[in-house]
């Protein structure tokens, strides 16, 4: 079937088997391999993307659900399209060593941006609770939590400007 949606700010139309999940569509058909698949039980969160502004696990979302919707992946997270500027949350992860192997990172970033958008004044407990659906095996979470708090603060500061 043919579906049309906005992908990282650009209108996109694709032919897709209805049983394809969104992570697979992104990775296999659209060559956007930043969205990762780390499990088969919707536990790990490596595949989190934003559907109409809300974080969803793209491994359990079927492609037809995208029709008419707006999708944001990690590739679309940075500043202006084509620019090398990173999103404040990406900058915060780099600054605070919030990643090691990088595999969970795209999902962490997408969840983190959604958390910061939803609640401007995040606490450490908010962040830890909010990241329950994202597993990281490398960092022990500490620097991720620090990064999310710093990234959220930077997002707020940017909004205030």
């Amino acid at each position: 079937m043919q579906i049309s949606f906005t992908l990282n700010g650009r209108p996109t139309t694709v032919d897709v088997e209805p049983a394809t999940h969104v992570a697979e569509l992104l990775r296999e058909q659209l060559n956007l391999t930043g969205t990762h698949i780390g499990c088969d039980t919707s536990q790990c969160g490596a595949c989190v993307v934003h559907l109409d502004g809300l974080p969803v696990k793209s491994c359990t979302l079927l492609a037809p659900a995208l029709d008419g919707a707006t999708l944001l992946t990690v590739e679309g997270l940075q500043g202006a399209p084509g620019s090398n500027r990173m999103h404040p949350m990406q900058e915060a992860f780099r600054e605070h060593h919030g990643l090691q192997c990088g595999f969970c990172t795209p999902g962490m970033l997408m969840t983190a941006v959604a958390l910061a958008t939803e609640k401007p004044a995040l606490t450490e407990a908010d962040v830890r609770h909010g990241l329950e659906g994202n597993i990281c095996r490398c960092t022990g979470y500490q620097n991720i939590v620090v990064s999310v708090l710093a990234g959220a603060a930077a997002m707020n500061a940017a909004k205030g400007e």
Partner: protein, 795 residues
């Protein structure tokens, strides 16, 4: 000279840009023209005879290209998966080493054992065809636990391995230990289980193989921590592919923790199959598939006894362990519970006599091999637990008994009674630092506050030492290693002075691209931005043993340091010619070659340019070019150590253990990048906390089914399980590595399980609890409380 960022600085990581923007290059991201998809058909039984496989329906399914089984492997006369270590028993008899076929032949020995490989145009088609494969199994009883496996009458995995015992290994002076026990004022005894773990790197394993008929070359892309070792083991020992015709690439790899440091059957099957079908083939494991095929870790049952004199001094330590090997010997399998376990039983203490006996046992479970720490967390757990038991039984303070037995700083180098000689350390310094950082003196106040909320609060200590930086090849060879354990690095200086390093270690989260660039920046005085690190490709990197055992900086960094020294030495020769001075008068400092006592200098870039444009160059005595290679084989292991203190709160109503404070003071030698070291400590600690509180791989005895086979059943630590940890380093320098480094990748995982469990036992000690097995889940604690000798209600 430009922007030198050297040893001790914390620049942001070079590798982060691609990971943060979704531009990493993991195996599953790679596509090859004409690529087909492969799936493995795996045994659903723990133990069964393979009576026959009917391929016909699967072969007839849409899109199917081929179905390969163990018979096809046998027809092609291919080898079995090799074990990299051959250990022997006390009498020198070699371990039992049954073959490990890359696809099962005659029998399957664990749930997940591979019986067939189905190749189709798409992964959906391959999966559908796999369902149509008819495998005729004669199901046999399974045995999954080590205690059960060695009992008379237990199911036997191999006809020629009586009682399923691979090797009855021992270490130490048994007679001296017995004598010491006879003189002891007190003997503490402890039986414990070291729970089985599944490593769970977030990236599932994957592989792509391709055969080019025009050049007769194979390429394997694989999620590996050691591509050169895969090339050697698979090419030379399994598939008979000449080394120069086989390229193994391990690009970005999403975490390893040991799980990806073995040569897996999947790699051999897919490479062999790529030539058979003349198509590139891709296989990506699902998480569930990983659970039944990634090598597991730990799984010991142990009885330990510690002999003490009346003052609490340790006289002797005796340990008997049954170690689970699973259904076959994996690459490092038998080395882990023996050579990486027994020699660490001395810990940071002066125990004069130690004896260790390990029975290495086959069972119908996934093969067991190294998982972060590998043998050393198990040794530390036994030792640090029994020290607490002894302190409690003798009425001694837990800190005091440790202090009384610690090797003093001036006691190094220290020869243990179990092979290894520690070169440096300061256990007392680490302990004192941790006591302050953990605010132990105010623990009583915090415990009272918890009690007011109806919670039991406990404090747990663990000290540890580990042997890492694997390894001195001669030493390893005596212990049964079948390969060397050196490392190599090439420093290629370009005509413009920028530098590319080719190194045999593998970066999968440890930040090597940054740390190694700092070493080069410091040693050559070049800009940090002007150094790139290449790894993970046998066509680009000369050779290497890969990354595991906290060895990358210790062994690989040393090779890199040596190679930069050679670059400087050659640069001095060139500079001497250009500056018309004697070579002995040339100094190199901060990126400049100069004639001592003069202002005549040449920059590093000028020397590099002269090396490649040798118009004015000592061609009669020196080759053009500026590229140097070094191999480094360490003279000893390194011995990081430290002290960890955990503080927990137990809710008696639910049995839930909450980790409320965690403090670690670790001696990792010279710290190149403090930010990265801290990250390694955090991650390591949480993996150890996972073992102590959450993680457990559970098999059903009899059927051999893995009951904890998904992230729904196997509890991984999450962000809200952890408090903010306090980590610090208290470094003594390694005396034999070029930069004084000791390694830091595993220390967190080694120190933490005992600290956490000692804290849980402390919290419950007023109820008569003396030991809690891992993981200390709410269910286990709640049951313990129901059976405790005193009422459950908090004070």
């Amino acid at each position: 000279m430009g922007n030198v960022i050297g040893i001790g600085a914390s620049p942001k990581r070079k590798e982060d840009q691609r990971f943060l923007t979704g531009r990493g290059n993991y195996v599953s991201d790679i596509k090859r023209p004409g690529m087909a998809a492969g799936v493995f058909v795996r045994s659903p039984h723990g133990h069964a005879k393979l009576r026959g496989i009917d391929k016909s329906a699967a072969l007839a399914a849409p899109g199917v290209i081929a179905v390969l089984t163990g018979d096809d492997v046998a027809d092609d006369g291919l080898g079995s998966l090799p074990c990299g270590w051959g250990i022997t028993d006390a009498k020198g008899v070699p371990m039992k080493e049954p073959p490990f076929p890359m696809l099962a032949q005659d029998k399957v020995r664990f749930v997940g054992d591979m019986v067939a490989f189905v190749i189709a145009e798409t992964s959906d088609q391959a999966n559908a065809a796999a369902e149509l494969l008819t495998v005729d199994y004669e199901v046999l009883p399974s045995v999954v636990g080590v205690l059960e496996a060695v009992r008379p009458g237990a199911p036997q995995l191999f006809d020629d391995v009586p009682n399923n015992i691979c090797c009855d290994w021992e270490l130490g002076d048994k007679a001296a230990v017995e004598t010491a026990f006879r003189k002891a004022a007190h003997v503490a005894k402890l039986s414990l289980v070291n729970n089985r773990l599944i490593g769970n790197p977030m990236e599932p394993r994957a592989a792509i193989a391709e055969y080019e008929p025009g050049t007769d070359r194979f390429t394997l892309w694989t999620t590996s921590q050691f591509p050169h070792v895969v090339r050697f083991l698979m090419g030379a020992l399994v598939l008979n592919i000449p080394q120069h015709k086989l390229r193994v690439v391990a690009p970005d790899v999403g975490g390893g923790f040991g799980v990806k440091q073995f040569h897996y059957g999947e790699e051999a099957v897919i490479t062999w199959a790529a030539k058979r079908v003349m198509r590139p083939i891709k296989w990506v494991a699902s998480r569930s598939e990983g659970y039944v095929s990634d090598r597991h870790g730990r799984d010991h049952v142990t009885e330990a006894e510690l002999a003490l004199d009346e003052t609490g001094k340790f006289l002797a330590f005796r340990v008997k362990t049954l170690a689970n090997m699973g259904g076959y010997l994996s690459t490092f399998g038998p080395n882990i519970p023996t050579n990486l376990y027994g020699p660490l039983l001395g810990g940071v203490y002066t125990t004069p006599a130690i004896y260790c006996n390990v029975k290495v046992v086959f069972t119908n479970t996934v093969p067991v091999d190294a998982y972060r720490g590998a043998g050393r967390p198990e040794a530390t757990f036994v030792l640090e637990r029994i020290v607490d038991v002894a302190a409690s039984e003798m009425g001694l303070d837990r800190v005091e008994i440790r202090r009384r037995n610690m090797i003093p700083k001036e006691g190094y180098p220290y020869q243990t009674p179990v092979l290894v000689q520690y070169d440096s350390g300061d256990p007392v310094g680490c302990l004192d630092g941790a006591l302050v950082a953990a605010d132990v003196k105010n623990f009583g106040i915090r415990k009272s506050e918890s009690a007011r909320k109806g919670k039991f609060r406990g404090l747990g200590y663990s000290t540890y030492v580990e042997a890492c930086g694997l390894a001195p090849s001669r030493f390893a060879g005596r212990l049964g290693a079948r390969g060397g354990l050196y490392e190599s690095a090439t420093v290629r200086v370009h005509p413009t002075g920028q530098v590319t390093v080719m190194i045999g270690t593998h970066n999968h989260g440890q930040g090597h691209e940054t740390t190694f660039a700092q070493i080069v920046s410091e040693k050559l005085g070049v800009s940090f931005e002007n150094v790139d690190i290449v790894f993970g490709d046998t066509d680009r990197v000369q050779f290497g043993m890969g990354t595991y055992g906290s060895r990358s900086l210790v062994v690989g960094g040393a090779a890199l340091s040596k190679a930069t020294d050679k670059v400087v030495a050659k640069g001095k020769k060139i500079a001497a010619h250009l500056l018309e001075a004697a070579e002995v008068d040339i100094q190199f400092e901060a990126g400049k070659f100069s004639v001592a006592g003069t202002d005549r200098t040449k920059t590093f870039e000028e020397i590099a340019g002269a090396a490649y444009v040798p118009h004015n160059y000592p061609l009669e005595v020196l080759e053009p070019g500026l590229e140097e290679q070094a191999y480094y084989d360490p003279v000893n292991f390194t011995y990081p150590g430290g002290c960890h203190i955990a503080e927990v709160e137990v809710d008696p109503e639910t049995g839930t253990v909450t980790l409320v404070n965690y403090t670690a003071v670790d001696d990792v030698g010279t710290v190149i990048n403090p930010m990265i070291v801290e990250g390694q400590l955090h991650g390591g600690i949480v993996q150890g906390v996972g073992q102590a509180l959450f993680e457990n791989a559970v098999y059903d005895e009899g059927s051999g089914q893995l009951l904890s086979g998904s992230l729904m059943d196997y509890c991984m630590p999450r962000a809200d399980h952890m408090p903010m940890m306090k980590v610090a380093t208290h470094s003594t320098l390694c005396t034999h590595t070029p930069m004084g480094v000791k390694g830091c990748g595993e220390v967190g995982t080694i120190g933490s399980p005992a600290a956490v469990i000692n804290a849980v036992v402390d919290a419950l000690s007023h109820l008569g609890v003396t030991h809690v097995d891992m993981p200390a889940t709410p269910n286990r604690i709640w049951r313990l409380l129901q059976n405790a000798s005193l009422p459950v209600a908090a004070e």
